[in-house]
């Protein structure tokens, strides 16, 4: 579980408080076999005041930061926003609210395009100064180079590639394209499909020395999932490296252009399953939720559909009683006694999303080969194979497919917050019939 540091920034923007850097986290969600990214897809999620965002960024009213030429969303970050020094930042982060992704869904980024630079002197986008580049450090734990067999790691419990840790764990966005590893892990979702994490971006020269000329830098990427076939649409991240607000607005406007068409509609909203007190929709009730309710009370926020979550006790008013109740409901460390998050779903090879009807088989063993596949529920007990692709062994308890009799044995599938043992039979025409389903506790056996 990651702590949502950026909700604070977002909240500050929501409640019209000055902050010294503007950004929104990249919200990620899945629908069927595809991933999506965007701003404020979840109605009323804290901080999703796009009007305020446009105002802060000095954009014309009704304008979203979307590149005119490509229609790609632009996310913003600032190399001076957090402690740790200039020319480095953890923003923008990535987040998904409850049930926006599947449990145990592994999210990665894929770097695209070339690095662009806004020169404040010429007020134009172009190639970055010689040698300037942005290096991004992603997560390595789910990298294909991870070896979790100590026999191949000289006894070390895990290692990378050839037994060493000399793996290529970073991505370089340069003027001539992408170097290093173009795909690295963002993070894995928790049992509720919630994810909130931040990466590490550095502005540097080709020798790796931190620093770079004043200006704005633009990179491009998309996110991919181990449970979905289609990646997200590419999006852009604009980094401010020392520009003032006006200069930054100029750089942004140069990308956005004059608004000619109305803002393209956002994907249809999906109201997440609510946890009383979870006002930031990150799947738990923690101190941030309590603080946000107190802030809403202080700002006399009225009860609206998008602020209904703040009325935790349901008495029609957002008041301190809601904050007290949220404190009572708080379940996290340093709020109340810690609870060990059930680690089970983190290691589930198979998950079923009741909203989409997708059965994601993250690891199927067929003889000595491993595959990943997705099945879509068609009728009551009939699944249709959507995708299948070779993969490596990732899980302790993969599903087993027996070619000789067409039986797919799933030792444990996570669905509706429970675990089931399931057997499906290949009835031909890429269809599988559910033959047996039994709730089980033996998750790893």
């Amino acid at each position: 579980m990651m702590y949502p540091a950026l909700f604070a920034l977002i909240a500050a923007m929501m409640f019209n408080q000055a902050v010294y850097a503007q950004h929104l986290d990249i919200e990620v969600w899945g629908e069927g076999n595809a991933l999506f990214t965007g701003y404020c897809r979840t109605p009323g999620v804290v901080g999703c005041d796009l009007g305020r965002l446009a105002q802060t960024l000095q954009l014309p009213p009704g304008t979203l930061p979307i590149e005119a030429a490509t229609g790609r969303l632009i996310f913003l970050s600032d190399f001076r926003d957090f402690s740790g020094g200039d020319f480095r930042t953890r923003n923008p982060g990535f987040q998904s609210v409850r049930n926006a992704l599947l449990p145990n869904e592994l999210l990665s980024y894929r770097a695209l395009g070339v690095l662009k630079y806004w020169d404040p002197a010429s007020s134009s986008w172009g190639r970055p100064p010689e040698g300037s580049q942005i290096r991004l450090f992603g997560g390595l734990e789910a990298s294909s180079q991870v070896i979790s067999d100590y026999a191949q790691c000289a006894g070390q419990l895990f290692c990378f590639s050839d037994g060493s840790f000399g793996t290529d764990g970073n991505t370089v966005f340069a003027a001539d394209g992408i170097h290093g590893n173009p795909e690295l892990v963002v993070d894995i979702t928790n049992n509720n499909g919630v994810l909130h994490t931040h990466l590490s971006f550095f502005l540097e020269d080709q020798q790796g020395e931190i620093g770079g000329p004043v200006g704005a830098y633009l990179i491009e990427m998309q996110v991919i999932s181990n449970a979905r076939y289609f990646p997200s649409e590419p999006f852009l991240i604009l980094f401010n490296a020392g520009l003032n607000e006006n200069e930054l607005a100029s750089a942004l406007l140069a990308l956005i252009g004059e608004p000619t068409d109305p803002v393209s509609p956002l994907p249809p909203p999906v109201i997440p399953v609510s946890i009383p007190g979870d006002v930031d929709l990150d799947g738990d009730v923690d101190r941030i939720d309590v603080a946000l309710i107190l802030l809403a009370v202080q700002n006399n926020e009225p009860l609206r559909p998008d602020t209904a979550r703040f009325d935790v006790n349901g008495d029609g008013v957002i008041d301190r009683a809601d904050a007290f109740l949220a404190k009572e409901l708080c379940t996290l460390r340093l709020c109340y006694s810690p609870t060990d998050a059930p680690a089970t779903a983190l290691n589930m090879a198979t998950v079923y999303d009741e909203h989409t009807g997708i059965l994601s088989l993250n690891d199927i063993q067929v003889n000595d080969q491993h595959y990943r596949a997705q099945l879509q529920l068609q009728d009551e007990a009939i699944f249709v194979l959507n995708t299948v692709q070779p993969d490596r062994s990732r899980y302790a308890a993969p599903a087993h497919y027996h070619i000789e009799n067409g039986i797919l044995e799933i030792p444990s599938v996570y669905a509706h917050g429970k675990f089931y043992q399931a057997i499906l039979l290949n009835i031909g025409d890429s269809k599988f019939r559910l033959e047996h389903l039994e709730e089980t506790d033996l998750v790893f056996e």
Binding site: A5, F82, G84, G139, A142, S148, A291, Q298, P338
Partner: protein, 766 residues
């Protein structure tokens, strides 16, 4: 029953028939009666270690001319030459140096340093080695705490009860297993009675006050008993506030260099959250027969102490986002428990409890050639809970049984020795948030012998040990919480066999001069955390990765010692070379682990929120060092003797292969002088220690500056009537109020050693 052998355990030195035996006794009885009184008096003045008991038969087969009462003769063994590589701290010096922790108590001993983690933790470092390489014993049985697992875990031995502390590095170490590869610290508190008190009741009461942190220590011991039954009771209570220091707790230069942080929460004048409270007690009972004894003790210790704030949570600008919301809130009434300072910057505290059951039985001279058969068993129920902001987050448990059965022989006049077997069964568990080591079961069995052969002015000593151990993780795979790292399978069992040997030759060309050459070849099998760690370990700011294919670590040490003790002059010098093959260490992988995001990366933006990833590995290393001490009585005055002591110790440790970098956290060069005035009733001393800078801190460590440590002590002994002695003592430490950052401390950049302190105390014995 044969009248010549009136009790089961009466010793029979000859194989002659009982009748002849009895006649001999008749003759001998008269002689022994004459010397008996003298020996009784002499024995009462000697410690139990050097006394052996002889019981005479209480009757003969036929009615004797005169009826004799049974009498016990306490024969005093001739004084043994001082054992090389054994340091003994006892009596006045021990009581003067007794401190809150074992490490601090022994800090002034040559070759010993104190690995502190704030004042609540002090682990002895012997010649640069500590943790799994130095065994902490309590009356010969391990302390079995979690101190070897992590440097913030205290040793569960109460120094206040100690009556003698032995630091052993020679052949005797083979008795205690591979974890004694770097030496042994054996704290003897005689909680199982070994003799009955002279009077029905005796004991001691002690109390001391430390101005630094307003620390109070109080302890009592009662020895009760008569004839064959003895009972020992003891209890202690200790409390102290935050430790006072001369400057700031956190080395801000270090923080700026390491973490790029310039705004941190720092405190001057004291180290917050270093208060502690500890209480405990024991009860021991023993049956003391003429030729045998059996006893047991129960003890319980409760130690609650705080850990100085480490680098995690240093940055006030990182509160998971709360730092930006809270300043906007005008009214936090009713929410102080989650938004108050303690909730935002929670203290880490440890609540440690240990209950021990010790059993001991000895049988003296059961048959000819056998001097003693001994059995010891300790059952230790240890646990500590780590609390953050008052809420438990990790609990460590260690349930251990350690036993030892040994036979001391003197088959030949010149050959003495011990043969024994030792076994340990351990169940370890860490439950909660910071569970970087899985639940594990460990068993070890060792067969050992130590022998000593004396010939003219030569003493040859040797030790040999065969040890087999196995480690069984209870989980078949490990998972990293919140991480996408695939499950990591574990082996069912790891087995180790080790043969350790030790030999020394001591030559005494003069009665007061000895030269000793020691060779030690000892093996240590890897410890649980070295094999099975996986996860972030915040006290060491590391992410540890175990290695299940580690092999035994081997130390080959040559130690040359010179000891010359004249009436007014003493010289002791030891030089050693220690070649460590397959030295187990933590190799920096160059990767980092982001604590909040629970992600492994090559690099992260905020160093304060990341820890380096270390993998356990093996590499040859070399340790070279010496200890030297010269003592002299400069003047014999009517007011007392003027004593001068010069001392120094040093160890240099480097890895041998690759870039020959330094083994981290080694003590620096120390030297100093002590000037004392000693009288029968009082003593004073002024001691100056200079520790040079440690400029060989090891990879990813920072150098520590040198320091001057000035201490002074005085004590006075007086009689309170007929029944009690009163001993008053005072000790001043760090008189120069220097900022001391110990090179052997993990937390040296966050918590310096205590500033100036004055300890006043009294001890009454009756």
């Amino acid at each position: 029953m044969n009248n010549c052998l009136p009790t089961l355990f009466t010793r029979n030195r000859s194989n002659q028939p009982p009748a002849l035996c009895c006649k001999q006794w008749q003759v001998m009885t008269g002689i022994l009666l004459m010397i008996g009184t003298f020996h009784q008096a002499a024995a009462d003045d000697k410690s139990g270690d050097t006394a052996s008991k002889v019981t005479l038969p209480d009757s003969v087969e036929r009615e004797p001319a005169a009826t004799l009462e049974p009498i016990t003769i306490m024969g005093t063994a001739p004084p043994r030459p001082s054992q090389p590589n054994v340091s003994v701290l006892k009596d006045r010096l021990l009581h003067l140096q007794q401190s809150d922790t074992l490490g601090k108590t022994l800090d002034q001993e040559l070759g010993v340093s104190n690995a502190s983690y704030g004042p609540g933790v002090g682990i002895p470092v012997i010649r640069g080695l500590t943790g799994s390489r130095v065994r902490m014993l309590q009356n010969g049985i391990g302390s079995h705490d979690a101190a070897s697992l992590s440097p913030d875990h205290a040793v569960a031995i109460e120094p206040l009860f100690a009556e003698e502390i032995n630091i052993i590095r020679g052949p005797e170490t083979v008795k205690y297993g591979g974890n004694a590869i770097g030496g042994i610290v054996d704290v003897k508190d005689h909680r199982i009675p070994e003799r009955t008190p002279q009077n029905l009741i005796s004991g001691s009461v002690e109390s001391r006050y430390d101005t630094n942190g307003k620390g109070t220590n109080s302890a009592f011991k009662l020895n009760l008993g008569k004839d064959w039954l003895a009972l020992n009771l003891g209890g202690f209570f200790r409390s102290r506030g935050d430790t006072r220091i001369p400057g700031k707790a956190i080395d801000e230069t270090f923080i700026a260099q390491q973490f790029n942080l310039t705004e941190i929460q720092n405190v001057s004048g004291k180290i917050p959250n270093t208060d502690s409270k500890s209480a405990g007690g024991f009860a021991g009972i023993a049956w003391l027969g003429n030729s045998a004894m059996a006893g047991m003790s129960v003890s319980h210790t409760d130690n609650r102490y705080g850990i100085p704030k480490g680098s995690h949570g240093l940055d006030p600008n990182h509160l998971d986002g709360l730092e930006l919301i809270l300043p906007q809130l005008d009214d936090l009434t009713g929410f102080e428990d989650i938004f108050g300072h303690q909730a935002l910057f929670p203290n880490i505290r440890l609540d440690m409890r240990q209950t021990r059951y010790d059993f001991k039985s000895e049988w003296y001279d059961p048959v000819r050639g056998i001097e003693r058969i001994g059995f010891r068993y300790g059952l230790v129920d240890y646990q500590h809970t780590e609390l953050e902001g008052g809420i438990p987050f990790t609990r460590f448990k260690n349930d251990v049984g350690e036993g030892r059965f040994e036979i001391d022989h003197h088959f030949l006049q010149r050959l003495t020795g011990t043969v024994g077997v030792q076994w340990i069964g351990r169940d370890f568990a860490a439950l909660g948030v910071e569970t970087f080591v899985p639940e594990t079961r460990q068993h070890s069995l060792g067969l050992y012998t130590t022998q000593q052969y004396t010939w003219n002015n030569w003493i040859l000593s040797g030790g040999l040990r065969f040890e087999q151990s196995r480690i069984n993780p209870k989980a078949n795979q490990l998972r990293l919480r919140g991480s996408a790292l695939p499950p990591i399978p574990l082996p069912d069992e790891m087995k180790y066999r080790a043969v350790s040997a030790s030999a020394s030759v001591q030559w005494n060309p003069l009665q007061d001069l000895s030269l000793t050459l020691l060779f030690n070849h000892s093996k240590r099998s890897p410890d649980i955390q070295e094999l099975l760690s996986l996860g972030p370990h915040l006290s060491t700011r590391s992410f540890d990765i175990g290695n299940v294919q580690l092999i035994n670590e081997t130390m080959n040490m040559i130690d040359l010692g010179f000891n010359w003790q004249k009436e007014r002059f003493g010289l002791r010098v030891n030089g050693y070379y220690n070649r460590a093959n397959d030295f187990i260490y933590q190799r920096n992988t160059g990767l980092v682990y982001e604590i909040d995001n629970e992600v492994i990366r090559q690099r992260c933006v905020s160093q304060a929120e990341c820890v380096s990833i270390f993998a356990y590995d093996q590499r040859d290393a070399r340790l070279i060092g010496y200890e030297a001490e010269i003592e002299a009585i400069l003047y014999k005055l009517s007011q007392g003797d003027v004593l001068l002591t010069l001392f120094s110790d040093y160890v240099r440790a480097r890895f041998i292969q690759d870039d020959r970098d330094d083994v981290p956290r080694m003590p620096p060069l120390r030297y100093g002088v002590e000037l004392g005035l000693s009288h029968a009733k009082w003593n004073t001393a002024l001691r100056y220690t200079r520790a040079e800078a440690q400029n060989h801190p090891g990879e990813n460590e920072v150098s520590t500056p040198g320091y001057h440590l000035l201490t002074a002590s005085a004590d006075y002994q007086m009689q309170l009537g007929k029944w009690a002695d009163l001993w008053l003592f005072a000790q001043a430490t760090n008189l120069l109020n220097e900022e001391i950052r110990s090179a052997v401390s993990f937390l040296r950049s966050f918590a310096p050693e205590p500033g100036r302190s004055f300890v006043l105390g009294l001890r009454a014995t009756f």
